[in-house]
């Protein structure tokens, strides 16, 4: 038994959005929480452990950024509840580590003045001091500390600058025998309190800062183009287009390599293993199934690379600025843009990020439409079908037809999200006005190579882990269903016709036949509920088993031989809308606190999927593509 240390210190990080709290948290605790250059990255409380120089154990809590303890949105509520100790299970933190962006002191110091009323020991960290110095800011730390009545240190969180000094000061301040504890006398600030606090902050700044930060010239120059009413929009569209083309074009060589690797592995296992169930399991279940998903790793990483760079540069808030009116026209909240853009990677962080939206209805609408944004798990599905059915011919010289179809599918997802929220607002909420939109546009920052690489590595590992767990277990299931029961002696039909998979597939088929799905697709959709890309793997396994052992072909080639063009198109249309992701539904339940919105989301998406696939299939048949 280890003795419980009674005097662990609980320290909370608090500050305005985007001032570098999480960067500091990572530097202090060695964690890898998400850091990015826009307001509202952290939407949950996270804790980590560190030891100070004197060997004290500290429980450090990272919190969502906030402008005040008023709690205007669910993420800010978390910060307020932790700081004020409102949670039943917790006492207030022993110590507040206030973080301020040294280039933007006005708002930060106003918050510090508000926080003083909580009467906890405090230490003010002037973060991003590197940028402040570069821009010629001259801060008299002693003066600042004296005027505020709070000790002050500086840091450069992203390069671990000032961390040792910071740890020393924590020891010094928290180690002092506590005088009598004064209860918090914080009250919700009225407008007059905010004015008074801001005046006080401005006074402190005049006293302690002799040279305020000059506006960042780089940001001004870049914004002249990227926020230009015309060129800004052109740049945004161009950027999205390049992103999707890159996902296709740049990933090709790497995908080819992985796919050849799996082919070789398949051939090797065929040569090494005796014919029979084990060989079938390895070759059809593992290699054709899981392998068909892992092939898409390069594409997913390229997409993440683009999103990471945009987030770190500081472009996200700009894109929200450019899109505000368009989103507002569809009844979406201005702050819905960043959650929706994050949903390109995955709807789950996107849905979490809606916590920054203050209005409940707007938040629900955004949660409901986030799964319509094309997430990275759809990439394998889209790519596979497009590569198998759409000829790779150039359009207008430079653009590929395949990339264009991909772009179209993304556009369809975006358009449907806007349409659904428009309908929801008009007919369910009956709102016409759009709520206020106020968002800080941070200065551009050069992405840190190390952190981008680290992030990509984490993504790759998460994807491979998924392939090794969820996808693999689904593959075992589908392989089992497709292999048992074994055909009776002397049967002439393919073995799979006698399997459970065929029985289940044929049982569902009548429902899905009108949209052009055969029994193989029908059965693949069931494990596909676990995750979208599993459908690809399932199809791989089902067709591999059906084709017999010689069918070591790739899934795409198999599909091209088996499906009509109309079926392929219907399948794509289905996947634009289908709620085929159990984790997304689970996160909706958690974030909305009940089943109601899960069911609404599930059924509206399912209906849209069926309808879209039906129309696509029928139109394609009418065009003679059956």
């Amino acid at each position: 038994m280890t003795a419980i240390e009674v005097n662990d210190w609980r320290i909370a990080l608090v500050g305005t959005p985007n001032c570098g709290k999480t960067a500091l948290f990572n530097a202090l605790t060695g964690s890898r929480q998400k850091v990015a250059n826009y307001a509202g990255v952290t939407v949950e409380r996270k804790s980590g452990v560190l030891r100070t120089a004197s060997g004290h154990r500290v429980d450090l809590i990272d919190l969502p950024g906030t402008y005040s303890l008023r709690g205007r949105s669910p993420d800010e509520d978390i910060t307020r509840d932790v700081i004020l100790g409102k949670l039943a299970s917790e006492s207030p933190p022993d110590f507040l580590l206030c973080v301020a962006d040294a280039t933007n002191l006005r708002v930060a110091l106003r918050l510090v003045i508000e926080l003083k009323r909580v009467h906890r020991p405090m230490l003010l960290v002037l973060n991003m001091i590197d940028i402040a110095r570069r821009r010629g800011v001259d801060i008299d730390l002693d003066k600042l500390s004296a005027e505020l009545g709070v000790p002050v240190v500086t840091s450069t969180a992203v390069r671990r600058g000032g961390i040792d000094d910071l740890l020393g000061r924590i020891d010094e301040i928290a180690g002092k025998p506590t005088a009598e504890i004064i209860a918090s006398d914080w009250t919700v600030p009225a407008a007059s309190d905010l004015r008074a606090a801001q005046r006080e902050a401005d006074r402190v700044i005049r006293a302690a800062v002799s040279e305020p930060a000059k506006p960042d010239t780089w940001t001004t120059r870049v914004d002249a183009v990227l926020l230009h009413p015309v060129w800004g929009m052109v740049a945004l569209l161009l950027l999205l287009f390049v992103m999707f083309q890159a996902v296709f074009a740049w990933a090709e060589p790497a995908m080819e390599l992985i796919s050849q690797g799996f082919d070789a592995l398949g051939a090797f296992s065929a040569a090494m293993l005796p014919d029979g169930l084990l060989q079938s399991f390895i070759q059809n279940g593992v290699i054709s199934g899981v392998g068909s998903v892992i092939v898409f790793l390069p594409q997913i990483l390229i997409l993440f690379l683009f999103i990471l760079l945009l987030e770190d540069l500081g472009y996200m808030a700009r894109a929200a600025f450019l899109m505000d009116r368009i989103m507002g026209g569809a009844g979406l909240h201005g702050r819905a843009f960043i959650p929706l853009l994050s949903s390109f990677a995955c709807a789950i962080p996107g849905i979490m990020a809606t916590r920054v939206i203050d209005n409940k209805r707007d938040r629900l609408t955004t949660i409901m439409v986030a799964p319509l944004m094309t997430c990275s798990a759809r990439i394998p599905v889209y790519t596979l079908i497009i590569a198998a059915f759409v000829p790779n011919q150039p359009v207008l010289g430079v653009l590929g037809l395949q990339g264009l179809v991909m772009f179209g599918l993304y556009a369809l997802g975006i358009f449907s999200a806007l349409a659904v929220s428009f309908v929801a607002n008009r007919f369910f909420w009956r709102d016409s006005a759009t709520p206020p939109f106020m968002l800080e546009l941070p200065d551009y920052k050069l992405p840190q190579l190390r952190s981008v690489l680290m992030n990509l590595y984490q993504r790759a590992m998460a994807f491979l882990k998924r392939a090794g767990t969820t996808i693999f277990s689904m593959m075992v299931l589908i392989w089992f269903l497709a292999s048992f029961p074994r055909p009776p002696e002397g049967a002439t039909e393919p073995a799979i016709d006698f399997s459970l998979a065929a029985m289940i597939g044929r049982w569902i088929e009548p429902v899905l036949a009108p949209i052009g799905f055969n029994w193989q697709i029908s059965v693949a959709l069931i494990p596909g509920m676990a995750a979208r890309e599993v459908a690809v793997a399932s199809l791989g396994t089902v067709y591999a088993i059906e084709g017999g052992n010689e069918a070591a072909e790739q899934v795409g080639q198999m599909l091209a031989g088996q499906w009509s063009f109309a079926t392929a198109l219907a399948f794509l249309a289905w996947y634009v809308f289908a709620p085929q992701c159990a984790s997304t539904l689970a996160v909706i339940k958690r974030e909305t606190g009940g089943w109601r919105w899960v069911l609404i989301t599930f059924f509206y998406m399912l209906s849209m999927a069926y309808l879209a696939a039906f129309v696509t299939y029928r139109v394609a048949l009418a065009l003679g593509w059956g």
Partner: protein, 105 residues
Amino acid sequence: MSDPGTRTLEANQTTPLGLARRGFCGRVSAIMVGGDHLGVSANEIERRLLEFGIVEGASVQILHEGPVGRDPIAVRVNGTTIALRRREAMAIMVGDHDQAAKTAT
């Protein structure tokens, strides 16, 4: 298109920031929210503006206008840049900077 450049006002005259154009430079003279909109009370909007450091006396400059209907606007408030819609900016009453302050920033 009309000239998007600086529109100057006579000294002491105030106007809502929501009507000003790109390039406008001025100083906040008052925050006066007209009324509630969409469940967000006038008082709440006032506090949000204040929390961004938009208080009486702060210097403001319109840096950018959105692509549709020149909305929203990107406003520099004493060094930080904030995007907000013109409707909310109507609550920010501004007077023109004196000439010296304008050239200094």
